[in-house]
Symmetry: C2
Amino acid sequence: MTSGELVEQIKKKKSYLCVGLDTDITKIPSHLLSTEDPVFEFNKQIIEATKDLCVAYKPNLAFYESMGVEGWMSLQKTLDLIPDDILIIADAKRGDIGNTSTLYAKAFFEKMNFDAVTVAPYMGKDSVTPFLAFKNKWVILLALTSNEGANDFQTQLLADGKTPLYEKVISESSKWAGADQLMYVVGATRSEQFAHVRSLAKDYFFLVPGVGAQGGDLKAISRAGMNAQCGLLVNSSRQIIYAGNGTDFAAKARVEAQAVQNEMEELLKEKGII
Amino acid sequence: MTSGELVEQIKKKKSYLCVGLDTDITKIPSHLLSTEDPVFEFNKQIIEATKDLCVAYKPNLAFYESMGVEGWMSLQKTLDLIPDDILIIADAKRGDIGNTSTLYAKAFFEKMNFDAVTVAPYMGKDSVTPFLAFKNKWVILLALTSNEGANDFQTQLLADGKTPLYEKVISESSKWAGADQLMYVVGATRSEQFAHVRSLAKDYFFLVPGVGAQGGDLKAISRAGMNAQCGLLVNSSRQIIYAGNGTDFAAKARVEAQAVQNEMEELLKEKGII
């Protein structure tokens, strides 16, 4: 999916919602456990209930990997039923030496046909660029994450006494690829830094975790972080997919997703994007 | 496996060799391609030919993940046949927010029964500590890697003008766990920094990639980096597993592993460990 196509979807759906498919077999409604593939069945119903309200799905691979071979099979079946006009993000946080990153990129972009993959920056340029060699595919690089541990290294100031590491990650990596191939993860729990991060990477999309269960504020981060093309994909996982726990779980997920989409529609209008 | 058990194996085998099972279906001998599971068959013969010469195996998960479900099945079968007294490292470079890291930890330590997993530090303490909650299991944290991209962020100096980021990673993370649970990745291509890194983490084991194909020097890094308990696991992947490409590939791999073990035996004697 190109940047233009993504922006078109955002305008059409009046939404920049990404639904996180963090599907945990211990949390899904019990009536699904007797189906042949409960994780897939859960995802299928969630996708059917939300696909007109979101522009991206983001399976966090840990949830599937932790189930072994069966988990990978549930994931592949899930990917196969997501419509082509929705961005599919592998939340994988990979990153390794060049030949190994190439293998991960092939796994996600060719074998599994994801549109985007989250990548950790610690190993530097040659660990990231192999993911950039695939046409119309995206790298979403960790910049400033939503967890408390972000303060351990990401916000450490460098030798000039004023640049935190995450800014260096953005300034360096923006030399490796443009806004048509590269996005950044910027946590919603950092709303006070959001406008500043936007000023560092004006044209890039940000994938924003941390709204909802982690406490981030959609309005605050949208007002501080939107650019003229929207430039945001705001992820919500638990708040939507675990909104209900009965046979009506998908309908309840839709209600939550609809509420977020309504709020996003207002924010897109406020910014003059739609 | 405990630290004491690992040291005992090193003394018994006179080796601190870790064999990297970076098994690439496009590189394995062609006569194996007609077998039911070529990747497993290759690993099986490599393990049989080298298991008395090494103290650890390190499958890089990218190689298996890139093959999809079949790759994970080949990996599981491979893990099942590695003897219990050999440390098995998942070279995964994972790291995510707490609940997600817990899932990765369960996947590697419980589901697949690895002894150790490599973890990326960028997301900080709460992304690493979930891996430390498992008894007799190991976190191997990326500190200073062997690739060129290590210079992009890892060697960046912090606000005091003298501490590079990787030193901060070591000093912070060594508060999270002791040398009986935590190791560091320190690339062999950095032999000039090796003695210094050892001074920062005297008691910790280092997993050292980059010897062999990547150009690192075993003697130099061993003399600079060994501690009284050895404290090193030196990895070699391509140089050993792809030493031959015919029906005698396993025998050729053994010759290479034997040469490394011989050199390690001399270095262990030189240091007075055996």
